[in-house]
């Protein structure tokens, strides 16, 4: 089975390591598939404005440079580690209220999607690009003041657009995803090297982007594992 992590941040947003270092950290640890998913933050809220001020977000301006760098690194990762690297973003709709906030992974993104757009627009645009849509940390996280509960609260409306839900994020496990029988994956939400040791996804499929996306979408041959040091 392929050892995978689809939720990883670099210095392009609020991660602590450069893209190249992140690739090496995962490659050296023997991972098979990873997705780099830096934040694209909504600029229409106070939190979002701060993210823009401190350059902790991917913008329309640097998006293609970001994509190009991931592609270059993906080639290096494949040649050296036989590790598949997929470009993605984490659309981050941040508000003061946890009930209004939501984070969405768009995996295998090709064109920029703004976080200020409506949820429907974001989902449809992701579908148009044949990208994978994952709801991140959809429920209460331990020790977290600001949660991202909007998608879970409105799951009846949005579940049809979402290819998978994070059933585990770093150290948190969201049992509710299992109870609702939603398709699932588990990720580290990597920001620092120590986050390498956290929940991960195992996929039973070929090591190529389309097989990985299909496996997650159909949620067959998917398992989660706690990767420990």
């Amino acid at each position: 089975m392929l050892l995978c992590d689809f939720h990883i941040h670099t210095k392009y947003s609020d991660g602590s390591l450069e893209l190249r270092k992140v690739i090496d950290l995962y490659g050296q640890a023997g991972f098979d598939v990873i997705a780099i998913t830096d934040h694209v933050v909504n600029g229409d809220s106070m939190i979002g404005k701060l993210a823009y001020k401190f350059e902790m977000t991917i913008t329309e301006k640097n998006f293609y440079e970001y994509l190009q760098n991931i592609q270059d690194e993906a080639q290096r990762a494949w040649d050296k580690y036989q590790m598949l690297v997929i470009a993605g973003v984490e659309i981050s709709k941040n508000y003061l209220s946890s009930e209004k906030s939501a984070h969405i992974l768009i995996i295998d993104i090709k064109e920029f999607i703004s976080a200020c757009e409506s949820y429907e627009h974001i989902f449809l645009e992701a579908k148009r690009q044949n990208a994978l849509v994952v709801a991140c940390h959809p429920h209460q996280m331990k020790g977290e003041i600001r949660n991202t509960l909007y998608l879970w609260r409105n799951r009846e409306k949005y579940a049809k657009y979402i290819d998978a839900w994070e059933i585990a994020n770093r150290d948190d496990v969201f049992n509710v995803v299992s109870l609702k029988k939603y398709p699932y994956i588990a990720n580290s939400d990597f920001h620092k090297p120590r986050h390498l040791y956290s929940w991960k996804t195992l996929l039973n499929c070929e090591k190529n982007i389309s097989a990985v996306k299909n496996c997650i979408k159909h949620n067959k041959g998917v398992a989660i594992t706690l990767f420990r040091g």
């Binding site: 640890a29 580690y81 420990r228």
Partner: protein
């Protein structure tokens, strides 16, 4: 004489002693290996447990050696070990050289020896190289160190290590300590005291010599199996050689806790092995001594003396770094006095506790680092239960 003067004098002597240690390193690095070319087939045994920094590159550096005939055995205790996937990838990439061995062995209390025993039994050749997974080497490594074994009197070849990586604060402190205190102490013991000081990160031996000292099984319950192997080899009449070939110990993302844990454990080992000699370590920490002198007598004299000692120590460390060709940024050396103070404080821990926690179990460390199961009896053992409860609470 006032007490602070004693510490001031000790600190001064510590600086002088450090000069001798640097001399020992210089002399060791400059040593030429004039032994004749010798290419016997070799089995490299790699006990793996968890992900070390740059594990893939470390393992690969052993698979691309410029050496005619050798095998690499990657040994793990179970398939769930995070290192398994990296080991698998390396084994797939170099199938002709690498053998991946996953075998549970719980013969003793030392997990590294438990890991090594199946690999040793599986190895094909008469010469084995035991090498840790956090070590990276150049292509000529085996070719250089094996020359020493052309002398039949040599029973064990070990290497000096140099810390590299240093991306986090913990890793910076660790590498700083390896590249100053550890390397200089090892070379000093080798040059001036002729004491075998074996570092488990690289041990090259003949199987017949290992068997002569009881085989690996004889060391299954020792925490410092490397030291005890070296000691027994020396006692058996075979020479223990410290090669001048420097190998890299990669430490990139260590946190402070890992640094503190390792040096508390190593301190306990040295206390149990060295006994009274352990006291001399404190005398060899001039920065800490000068700080004690300052604390005992807050004056301009002791303040400037502590400042002078720290500055001299920093310059000496930078010079030592130059000798061993470390890639460490010079600014990192500013942490050197801070590191020495931490090490000075940790020095006291072994005097208060002689137990270690390993894989969730507590062991008592006996003479020469022999591990004994710890029995929770007696009123004093409650302190460990309280500490565990506090740790659990905070986790």
């Amino acid at each position: 004489m006032e007490t602070f003067y004693i510490f001031t004098i000790i600190a001064f002597l510590g600086i002088v002693g450090y000069g001798f240690q640097i001399w020992a390193v210089r002399s060791k690095i400059g040593e030429r290996n004039d032994n004749k070319e010798y290419y016997p087939p070799i089995s490299i045994l790699k006990p793996l447990k968890g992900i070390d920094d740059d594990l893939f590159d470390n393992l690969e550096s052993f698979c691309t050696q410029d050496y005619p005939e050798y095998e690499v055995i990657l040994a793990l205790q179970d398939y769930n070990d995070p290192a398994y996937r990296t080991a698998r990838k390396i084994a797939d990439k170099y199938p002709e050289k690498v053998k991946l061995l996953v075998e549970k062995c719980q013969i003793g209390l030392n997990p590294k020896v438990n890991n090594l025993i199946p690999a040793y039994q599986e190895s094909r050749y008469d010469i084995v190289l035991i090498s840790d997974s956090n070590v990276m080497v150049e292509k000529n490594y085996i070719r250089e160190i094996v020359k020493h074994l052309s002398d039949e009197n040599v029973g064990l070849v070990t290497n000096i290590i140099r810390g590299t990586g240093s991306l986090s604060l913990g890793a910076k402190l660790e590498n700083l300590h390896l590249n100053t205190f550890i390397i200089s102490s090892v070379c000093f013991l080798d040059k001036f005291l002729k004491m075998p000081c074996v570092i488990g990160k690289s041990m090259l031996m003949r199987k017949k010599d290992i068997e002569a000292i009881g085989g690996l099984e004889a060391f299954k319950d020792f925490l410092a199996e490397d030291y005890v192997i070296g000691y027994n080899m020396h006692k058996s009449g075979k020479k223990v050689v410290l090669s001048s070939y420097t190998i890299d110990n990669v430490n990139e993302y260590w946190d402070i806790k890992k640094f503190l844990n390792r040096h508390t454990r190593w301190g306990k080992l040295r206390w149990k092995i060295g006994g009274g000699k352990y006291l001399s370590e404190m005398l060899g920490n001039p920065v800490f001594m000068s700080v004690i002198s300052l604390l005992l007598n807050l004056s301009w004299f002791t303040f400037f003396f502590a400042l002078w000692v720290s500055s001299v120590k920093i310059f000496c460390d930078i010079y030592l770094g130059k000798i061993i060709k470390t890639e460490m940024n010079k600014r990192v050396y500013l942490l050197s006095p801070f590191k020495d103070i931490i090490i000075g404080i940790l020095w006291f821990v072994p005097l208060l506790s002689s137990t270690v926690v390993w894989r969730g179990n507590r062991y008592k460390i006996g003479k020469n680092s022999l591990l004994l199961p710890y029995e929770y009896s007696g009123i004093l053992t409650w302190r460990y239960r309280i500490i565990s409860a506090i740790k659990e609470r905070f986790a």
